[in-house]
């Protein structure tokens, strides 16, 4: 082996602590990159394959009731490939030993053979036998939540009558990847499930014999989706059509798309931040490490080694570290990516998961790291090689110490000599000190990104469920109901206060933009359900006009004073111009609000309501649930506390993993940076400190000089790190903006405390390691050699 390569290996071994720390920083960056991107790729691929293999429909529509003969006319629409008519309905379920009301989504499947579209993936058991009206297939998540197995029974309130149903199997469907009870914001598999039943049996139960109330289509490749939807709307309008929509607006797909978008944003933000910081730190550390070897570089040059040969030598050294870091990062990234994909697979109820790691992903992580290292090395070696060997071998350029401005300000008499040394040393090389400080600050800031999402999300929940939706329970009716229902609810034992609402699906248009959402008509001056302005102060709802979530206003490009075209997607489907009279702050979802009677007028209807928000005495809750179960008109009952629990569970399932990984890696980075800074400082000043020992300074005194500097830098780095952390979190928040939620920049004091604590612990541990080395300084050596 060549002597230079032997030097490389020995140097590496000598620097093993630091090399390991740098490699770990790279590992953290690369692993994050690979974890996110492989998860995203895998989920995308899995979704695409799932949609294709199980023939996910392309156009969807609900209506009141249409004769089966309409199906043929739908099939004649140009661009339609396949048509499947169905019967679907929400149903109240009564599950033994489960006191709360449960909502079921009943969906028909053909009596014979598979559905043409939205095919089922049978996980357990079998499909219902033809003609059996007491057999159902249920969604896997629902079955798991209740530990149902084929053969178990549950009761459904079908057309006001209680009917016992036998579970014959469990299944998954591309149509219900994301299962959300209407009106609910988060999945709750205990209180909402999908049930599939034979077409004839379900049709008979709901007076849909020879008729349908739901239709799905697939399209030919050359079809115009918009044309098909328009024509389908024309055909189903007379039958109480509720507006056909494409996959983009399909509930499960829409949520999935948003979830993927979030994941993609995370996948873009975190790796960029982590890898970016890793490379920055690599630069700082390498520059100093190579600077330390300037005499050796000079000697090599004096013997006739070319600048290229010297640069190559150090690049090789760095590449060994990079390759180690990247290799470990790829392995860790794959492992974590598989773990994260599995979590999402479970969360989304995919029947299979196709884990995909594209070579480009690995390549770009490796090239970015290697490229960053190359640049770092070149800069550092160039700086070292630019010096003429004669100069480089002299002790380093004139050290121009002078009184620091702190001393000149008159603080000098408060500083003893060792402290003056600390201050002067920091200020003598301000750029180097600043870079070290910035490195520690980045480590501190990156730590905050891991915990930021938890902080902000709990804040959002506080606003949503503490300031806006303050009901204990909300109920939704199957159909718009007379306002009399309000008094009936009011009279129930335990109900303290009732506020009613009307909600209706609508498409809002402004200029060329449009958005499908719901309009909620609420009572003016409501105390349970409140609307908030930008400062989170409750606002009064104007008597006329429409109020939008501020984000929806942005999406549509409207402000207060603009006039929206509102297309109601229910009943007579009126289209009206409505002025925007206000924007409200909402972090979750996007909505539109109107005063209740104004909405009733817009719909050309009397004082109808869709549901109510209730303030309830806790003691009566179980009794109320029992009453609601037996009330056929009530389609869904939601408990606020339960929503919050559902939310937290959803977060635990998905975010906890990201948070844990991000936090772990930021701790690794923090240690890597602080430890390296301390070690390099030790190497740089070993001779000086050993000389001081020779002069009679104690171990403690020289430790104070070196570690005091580290302490000062750390102390300044932490507040800067807080600012860096805020900035990084701000970038992440911006990236997470979506229709599902807007993330405010909220950081809890304990997040700052956590970041600061980890940095401090890293500093203390590094200091202890350095202290051990300080205690073993070679005092004789310093007398023998120069400097």
């Amino acid at each position: 082996m060549r002597a230079l390569d032997i030097k490389l290996l020995r140097d590496l071994w000598h620097l093993r602590g630091q090399a390991l720390a740098i490699a770990l920083v790279i590992t953290a960056g690369v692993a994050t990159f690979i974890m996110f991107l492989s998860t995203l790729d895998s989920l995308r691929l899995t979704q695409a394959e799932y949609y294709q293999d199980y023939r996910f429909a392309e156009v969807f529509a609900s209506l009141k009731r249409a004769p089966q003969s309409l199906a043929r006319r739908i099939a004649e629409i140009p661009g339609v490939e396949r048509v499947e008519t169905r019967v679907t309905t929400l149903v109240n379920l009564d599950i033994p030993d489960f006191p709360e009301p449960v909502t079921g989504q009943l969906v028909s499947i053909p009596d014979h053979g598979e559905p043409l579209m939205n095919k089922l993936h049978l996980r357990q058991g079998r499909i219902p036998e033809p003609g059996r009206d007491d057999e159902v297939l249920i969604s896997v998540a629902f079955a798991e939540a209740h530990r149902f197995v084929p053969g178990d029974k549950l009761n459904a309130i079908i057309n006001g009558k209680r009917k016992a149903l036998t579970i014959v199997g469990t299944a998954l469907s591309p149509e219900y990847i994301y299962q959300l009870r209407p009106g609910s914001a988060f999945p709750d598999y205990q209180r909402y499930g999908i049930l599939w039943m034979g077409r004839t049996a379900l049709g008979n139960a709901y007076d849909m014999d020879g008729a349908f109330n739901n239709v799905v289509l697939s399209l030919t490749t050359d079809a115009s989706e918009k044309d098909v939807i328009d024509r389908l709307d024309d055909l189903i309008d007379p039958y109480g059509g509720r507006g056909a929509y494409s996959r983009v607006d399909q509930f499960s797909n829409r949520f999935l798309t948003e979830e993927f978008k979030q994941l993609e944003n995370n996948a873009r933000m975190f790796p960029v931040i982590f890898l970016g910081i890793a490379i920055f730190l690599l630069n700082v550390v390498l520059a100093r490490m190579i600077h330390m070897q300037r005499e050796q570089i000079a000697a090599l040059k004096a013997f006739g080694y070319t600048n290229r040969a010297v640069a190559l030598h150090y690049f090789k050294l760095v590449m060994v570290i990079v390759v180690l870091g990247v290799a470990a990062g790829v392995l860790a990234g794959i492992w974590l990516g598989k773990g994260m994909s599995a979590i999402y697979m479970d969360f989304f109820s995919f029947p299979f998961l196709h884990f995909q790691l594209r070579p480009q992903v690995v390549l770009s992580a490796a090239l970015t790291s290697a490229g960053g290292a190359l640049v770092a090395t070149l800069f550092a070696v160039r700086a070292a090689a630019r010096l003429r060997p004669a100069e480089a071998m002299r002790p380093e350029a004139p050290t121009q110490y002078r009184e620091s401005f702190i001393e000149r300000l008159g603080f000098k008499r408060f500083l003893n000599h060792p402290t003056r040394m600390i201050v002067r040393h920091i200020l003598r090389r301000p750029v180097k000190s600043a870079l070290t400080m910035l490195g520690i600050a980045f480590a501190c800031g990156i730590m905050m990104t891991g915990r930021f999402q938890q902080d902000t999300v709990s804040y959002m929940m506080g606003v949503e469920y503490g300031l806006m939706q303050r009901e204990d329970v909300s109920v939704a009716f199957f159909d718009p109901t007379s306002r009399r229902a309000q008094y009936e609810l009011q009279s129930l034992a335990g109900v303290e206060h009732v506020e009613v609402f009307r909600s209706v699906p609508a498409r809002l248009h402004f200029a060329h933009r449009s958005h499908r959402t719901g309009i909620t008509g609420v009572e003016p001056g409501g105390d349970i359900q409140r609307l908030l302005d930008a400062d989170l102060k409750p606002i009064a709802l104007p008597a006329a006009g429409i109020v939008l979530t501020d984000y929806l206003g942005e999406m549509l490009g409207v402000g207060v004073g603009d006039t929206l075209m509102v297309e109601i997607l229910e009943g007579t489907r009126p289209v009206r111009e409505v002025p925007v009279v206000g924007l409200v702050k909402e972090y979750l979802g996007v909505s539109a609000y109107m005063e209740l009677s104004a909405l009733n007028r817009l719909l050309h209807e009397g004082p109808a309501i869709s549901g109510a928000y209730l303030a309830v005495d806790d003691e009566y809750l179980l009794g109320l649930f029992q009453r609601f179960k037996e009330t056929p008109r009530i389609a869904a009952v939601m408990e606020r506390e339960q929503e919050i629990r559902n939310f937290n569970r959803t977060m635990d399932q998905t975010m906890l993993f990201i948070t844990t990984v991000a936090t772990t890696f930021s701790v690794v980075i923090a240690f890597g940076v602080v430890y390296n800074s301390a070690r390099i400082a030790l190497t740089e000043r070993a001779r000086e400190l050993a000389s001081l020992r020779v002069l009679g300074f104690t171990r403690g005194e020289i430790a104070y000089i070196l570690l005091g500097e580290l302490a000062v830098l750390t102390a300044f780095a932490i507040p800067i790190g807080f600012l860096v952390g805020r900035a990084l979190c701000g970038i992440i928040a911006l990236g997470l903006q979506s229709e599902l939620y807007r993330v405010p920049l909220i950081l809890e004091p304990k997040t700052y405390a956590f970041a600061a604590t980890v940095v401090l612990i890293a500093t203390v541990i590094s200091a202890l390691v350095v202290r051990r080395h300080l205690d073993r300084l070679d005092l004789i050596g310093v007398l023998k050699t120069k400097e």
Binding site: H14, Q296, A299, L300, F303, G304, N307, R388, P389, T785
Partner: protein
């Protein structure tokens, strides 16, 4: 000893280095510090020259320019027919690699390499080197080849540095205060090695020192003071290092 190399007059020998009007000015912050002020000089083939002078006299600067470690501010320095003062970095690197062996006051060994490997570092890039082992035996370190610098005494380290310098069979051997960091006994040992290399290999050798006693072992002694040559003296008879006392 003198039988092998009787002192010869300048005209009898081919000149290896010719310097004319050599000036070097260092910029130290806002101050210009002249290190050399118009030095004219010749070094001849096989010659053992001692550059003598107090610190700051410009002797290191002169040696560095001869060795291609530094370039003059003005003036010319020719190695044989080649003008080093117009060489760029790459050409100087090539020149050092092919022709020059350096010995530094503080040895400048690579701490992570053994004695043998430190020598190999240079022989690997030289064209007609001797084996590292041969070079180390030449300096009397045949037994300590696999020791790291930290396991060697100062004198031993300096001898490794000499072995490293001569192993490439350089045309000139430039030594900057080779005994500066050593005690007398070890210093003598090192000087013996340098003298032996000069004698046995015929390598043109220039040694910098501020120790006037060492001058007695040279063919020629060049005194520098204040950046100029103040005196050139030819020794009628060279002393062996053992005879030198300081």
């Amino acid at each position: 000893m003198n039988a092998t190399h009787p002192p010869l007059s300048s005209s009898d020998r081919k000149s290896v280095f010719t310097a004319r009007g050599l000036t070097k000015i260092y910029q130290m912050g806002e101050v210009q510090v002249p290190a050399l002020r118009g030095v004219d000089l010749e070094l001849y083939e096989g010659e053992f020259v001692v550059l003598l002078g107090p610190s700051g006299s410009g002797k290191s600067t002169l040696l560095n320019i001869l060795g291609g470690l530094d370039t003059p501010t003005s003036g010319t320095v020719c190695y044989g027919e080649h003008d080093l003062s117009v060489y760029n970095d790459a050409a100087l690197t090539h020149y050092r690699r092919e022709h020059v062996g350096f010995v530094f006051q503080f040895y400048n060994l690579i701490p992570s390499l053994t004695a043998r490997e430190n020598v190999a570092l240079v022989t690997e890039i030289a064209e007609h080197p001797m084996a590292p082992e041969e070079a180390l035996r030449l300096v009397g370190l045949g037994e300590r080849m696999d020791h790291f610098p930290s396991q060697l005494s100062g004198g031993e380290q300096q001898r490794v540095a000499i072995a490293r310098a001569v192993a490439k069979r350089p045309d000139v051997l430039l030594c900057d205060e080779p005994t500066g960091a050593l005690d007398v006994k070890t210093g003598v040992l090192v000087l013996e090695v340098i003298e032996r290399v000069n004698r046995e290999l015929g390598t043109t050798t220039a040694v910098i020192t501020h120790n006037a006693a060492i001058a007695d072992m040279a063919d020629r002694v060049i005194h520098l003071s204040n950046g100029q040559i103040s005196e050139v003296r030819r020794n009628a008879s060279k002393k062996s290092p053992r005879e030198i006392v300081w």
